[in-house]
């Protein structure tokens, strides 16, 4: 989850008469988890579906609603203008089809604001931008840009001075030699042409989705901004734009429209959308009896607009709240506006009778029997390693099921047997008193259609006098007492077990597993100093369906 750092004193400035404690108590009720606090600073985690919470300005809007300082939707006041035109050329349609943008004038930008804008941009890129693939954003100093602009394409030998650089680089050099180029260049694939925004003086403004030009760099001296968003989907690009527009307006900028045309592109409207709801759905879902006016006031506290129309409530959702899909999302908005702390939990009598799964019941019985026989239950990961599964026990890996890109070397392969894990457990306990008797029931995996999951059961006994007879007696008693099953053993060979002291186990003529004295090589590999005997059988098809 993304994190934003807030300053209580800045929030207090934005909110008015609200104490630090009131703020910190209320942040969780916006869905913001406080990660850490240090005097005036607080770091909160916000959900990726609320990119408006990536700045303190956005969070202040939410808190104003909760505190009742300002309620209702934030309306974007966009001045109409014909001065800011972007022509889109046909050539972009196969690479990155859409561009949209807005002008923000007469604002003040301090260092904190620049930091927050950068952070918001990064979070938008990562979240709804899907690492810039779906849409990406560029914020420019308007006064360095000469309209009209052209959204076009260029060859990879095109040169300009990119952001944070002092010399001209070609597109290829940017993609090969800069961090952003290496991180995001793959989005452009192998296309010989790449997208580019040029101004009327043929200056490069931006090379989306990779980097802006240095010439339009925003500093604390910048007063007027040009924000552009490019992407592969028009609606996504406009969603992203509306978050930035809302935050900039909140920061005191005056918004002015852009005019976009060409190759299926149109000017952004950033208008609220309307969703109809009624009190029945809300009360049914929440288990409350809210009146229409309570619902409307709760929605307004969640910074939405709502009016009554007949029996329905018409809810107007500002464009930056694209996390709202339909009426159920508004149920949540009502909940938050009403306050979760005001919802009293109720325990209604159950209309259904509960039942433990028969598999759980049988496995529980089996474990109680094993405990009666003096065996302690062990638990091992089913995702384990080649070392434990194969190398230490001298088994040959066949049709291993591995996971991709595991962050832990000890967890790369799904186990096809439980015994190797139990042997590894013994090796970690060689300084603990013997006898050591362990069992485990759990899932083992094999390739099938596409994967077979089988419940397996294994036991081991390690002490100075452990013998084949002992372990066979144990398994025999466990299955006889538990499930009235008789086992037979037949000479067999298996790499985990000692030759001549290994048998296959069968019940009613069907082979279910293997039993024997553990091979001395395995024992040595694990530096275990006592003889070990063990078994493993499949319970699926035997006592489990």
């Amino acid at each position: 989850m993304p994190v934003v750092e807030l300053s209580y004193s800045r929030l207090q400035k934005l909110l008015g008469k609200v104490s630090k404690k009131q703020i910190s108590d209320s942040l969780p009720f916006l869905g913001l988890d406080i990660e850490s606090e240090d005097k005036d600073l607080v770091r909160v985690e916000y959900s990726p579906n609320r990119p408006d919470y990536s700045t303190d300005l956005g969070i202040a809007l939410g808190l104003q609603g909760l505190f009742g300082i300002k309620t209702g939707a934030i309306k974007l006041n966009i001045k109409k203008s014909n001065d800011y035109v972007i022509h889109v050329e046909q050539s972009v349609s196969k690479i990155r089809s859409f561009v949209t943008g807005i002008i923000a004038k007469n604002g003040r930008i301090d260092d904190t604001m620049i930091k927050q804008l950068m952070a918001m941009q990064e979070d938008l890129h990562f979240g709804i931008g899907r690492k810039r693939k779906k849409s990406s954003i560029g914020i420019h100093d308007l006064d360095k840009v000469s309209f009209p602009l052209r959204y076009t394409t260029t060859k990879r030998d095109h040169r300009f001075v990119p952001l944070n650089s002092d010399k001209e680089l070609t597109i290829s050099e940017i993609l090969d030699n800069t961090d952003v180029g290496q991180d995001y260049g793959a989005i452009l694939g192998n296309s010989p042409l790449v997208p580019l925004i040029l101004d009327s003086k043929k200056q490069t403004i931006s090379f989306p989705p990779i980097i802006n030009a240095a010439i339009t760099t925003v500093t604390t001296k910048t007063r007027n901004l040009f924000v552009e968003v490019t992407g592969i989907n028009k609606d996504d690009a406009e969603d992203m734009l509306s978050v930035v527009a809302t935050i900039l307006q909140t920061a005191g900028f005056t918004l002015v429209s852009t005019k976009i045309s060409g190759s299926k592109n149109t000017s952004p409207k950033l208008e609220p959308k309307k969703i109809l709801i009624n009190s029945v759905l809300i009360n049914q879902m929440l288990g409350l009896n809210l009146t229409n006016s309570q619902i409307i006031s709760s929605l307004k506290k969640s910074r939405l607009d709502a009016t009554l129309k007949g029996k329905n409530i018409v809810c107007s959702i500002p464009s930056y709240r694209f996390d709202i899909f339909g009426p159920m999302d508004l149920v949540e908005e009502v909940t938050l506006g009403y306050g979760i702390q005001n919802l009293e939990p109720i325990l209604s009598p159950s209309q259904t009778l509960g039942q433990t799964n028969p598999i759980s019941i049988k496995l529980k019985s089996l474990s109680l029997i094993m405990i009666g026989l003096g065996y302690t239950e062990a638990l091992n990961s089913s995702l384990t390693s080649k070392r434990v599964l194969y190398e230490m026990t001298n088994r040959e890996p066949i049709n291993m099921i591995s996971v991709l890109d595991s962050k832990s070397q000890e967890h790369t392969i799904l186990r096809d047997s439980i015994l190797p894990g139990l042997l590894e457990n013994l090796s970690r306990n060689i300084h603990t008193s013997y006898p050591q008797k362990l069992f485990e029931t759990g899932t083992i995996f094999s390739q099938g259609n596409p994967i077979n999951e089988i419940t397996s059961f294994a036991g081991i006994s390690a002490h100075q006098d452990s013998t084949f007879t002992e372990i066979k007696s144990i398994l025999q008693s466990a299955l006889k007492t538990g499930f009235d099953l008789d086992i037979e053993t037949k000479t067999f060979s298996h790499p985990i077990f000692e030759e001549g002291r290994t048998a296959s186990i069968s019940v009613h003529g069907k082979t279910i597993g293997i039993i024997g004295e553990i091979n001395s090589k395995t024992i040595e590999n694990y530096k275990i100093r006592v003889p070990v005997v063990g078994f493993e059988i499949s319970l699926s098809g035997l006592i489990l369906d």
Partner: protein, 462 residues
């Protein structure tokens, strides 16, 4: 009632009754037991509070080379005074007579006003009958004696002189009987055994503590009217993600968070209607190209929600309470708070009258039954529920609120394509976290270490 003793104990007690304070070495001689038997016997008696062992340190002192010389010839200053007893003498003559000790002897004699000088001669002024240190020298003589026996006022005067006094630190143990033991009658034979003595520790075989927690949680939900369902750990992405409205380009679906099974895809992932409706819902709401091959990719389930949603999609009940309990997987770095594989419980209530308050009520009741009463609810976000909440519970040991189960009502984008028409309340969370609170563990890895010392000692009923 008479106590029962081991033969070794009997011998030691008897010996100490005759000779109340003995060193272990003495006891060896008086009882004919080996040093090891004596050591063990003393330990047993100490545990029973029948014997006390006083460890003391004594300093033995004897005379060094110069000390011995003075013992035989007299202290240098005494020798000086003796030489002057009858007549005054020239300094040179005294020097010749006394040699190297003349200087210090003369210094002392002058300082104490025993002698004086006139022209080139030294004469006696005073003849003390006993000089400081003489008494001590006489007392020690050629023996070793304990420092305690020495006149403590007289010792310092010669203690500082080089090689006069040699100190030897001796540590001694002295065993004696306690008051209780003094009244013990040792009987020579009896069939009685020592019923009060300590016995060896044996270890019970037991179920795994985490399994105990799992069983407890299972039991609670069954008694709350829930039926347990079990599903596969390896799932097509379709049920783990797509059916739960998680778009295919969502960061949670990336390799770095989810375990994909190398080269494995499911041929059959759902009915054609399920696939069609889910893909439509994704295209409409998330605006991207939905790829069925992406949905076929096999993953290790990241939650058990895939099991319950599949169950609901297959059975479409109007009224049901089901839960699923089992292992889930996340591609994380293993640490004291994260495992790649852990247990999760996840349950749903479906019913025409199911409300968010019911969901909160079930949670509160569950926590009450596991002994947690301080809880509150906070909003949160999950892709497949709306509204979404999380429970915060107060941990007295850590003195802070910790996050436990998440919950919410399944989004219509989840239920509608699968033909589920009634509201579905869903909740779930990790079991290890609860077990950690229960067993007071700070490191979640402990559950899977299979450390026998811990398994054998963790209290079963917490």
């Amino acid at each position: 009632m008479s106590q029962v003793f081991h033969e070794i104990e009997k011998k030691i007690i008897t010996s100490l009754k005759n000779n109340p304070k003995q060193t272990p070495e003495n006891l060896e001689k008086s009882t004919n037991l080996s040093p090891d038997q004596i050591r063990r016997g003393i330990e047993w008696l100490k545990l029973k509070e029948l014997a006390i062992v006083n460890e003391s340190q004594t300093i033995n002192i004897s005379l060094g080379k110069n000390g011995l010389e003075s013992f035989h010839k007299g202290l240098p200053e005494r020798r000086l005074l003796d030489l002057l007893k009858n007549e005054s003498k020239k300094l040179q003559d005294l020097q010749t007579e006394l040699g190297s000790v003349f200087g210090p002897a003369m210094g002392l004699a002058r300082k104490n006003n025993w002698v004086d000088t006139s022209e080139d001669k030294i004469f006696l002024k005073n003849y003390p009958s006993e000089l400081p240190g003489e008494k001590t020298l006489k007392q020690i003589g050629e023996n070793k004696i304990s420092k305690n026996e020495i006149d403590i006022d007289d010792l310092p005067s010669i203690l500082k002189r080089p090689d006069f006094i040699v100190e030897d630190i001796i540590k001694t143990k002295e065993v004696s009987l306690t008051e209780n033991a003094k009244s013990i009658e040792i009987t020579s034979s009896s069939s009685a055994i020592d019923v009060e003595s300590k016995v060896p520790v044996v270890f019970v075989a037991r179920t795994h503590p985490l399994k105990d927690t799992i069983d407890e949680i299972r039991e609670i939900f069954v008694t709350l009217g829930f039926t347990e369902i079990i599903g596969s750990m390896a799932q097509p992405s379709f049920w783990n993600f797509d059916a739960l409205f998680t778009p295919q380009d969502h960061p949670a679906r990336e390799l770095q968070d989810t375990f994909y099974l190398d080269g494995l895809s499911a041929k059959k992932i759902g009915t054609s209607e399920q696939i069609r409706k889910i893909s439509e819902s994704h295209k409409k709401n998330w605006r991207y190209y939905w790829d069925i091959n992406e949905a076929r990719k096999m993953v290790l389930r990241t939650h058990t929600t895939c099991v319950t949603i599949k169950h609901l999609a297959e059975n479409k009940p109007d009224e049901a309470r089901v839960f699923s309990l089992g292992r889930v997987f996340r591609n994380e770095k293993v640490s004291y708070k994260h495992l790649v594989e852990f247990n999760q419980i996840e349950g749903v209530v479906i019913g025409k009258n199911a409300t968010l308050r019911d969901l909160m009520g079930i949670q509160r009741e569950f926590y009450r039954r596991i002994g947690i009463t301080k809880i509150k609810f906070w909003p949160t976000f999950f892709p497949y529920t709306e509204p979404s909440l999380q429970t915060m519970v107060y941990n007295d040991r850590l003195e802070k609120w910790v996050e436990l189960f998440g919950m919410g009502i399944f989004r219509p984008e989840v239920t509608k394509p699968l033909g589920i028409t009634k509201p579905v309340l869903a909740w779930g969370g990790g079991i290890e976290r609860i077990a950690m609170l229960k067993y007071g563990l700070d490191d979640v890895r402990e559950f899977y270490n299979n450390n026998l010392s811990w398994l054998r000692s963790a209290t079963k009923c917490q």
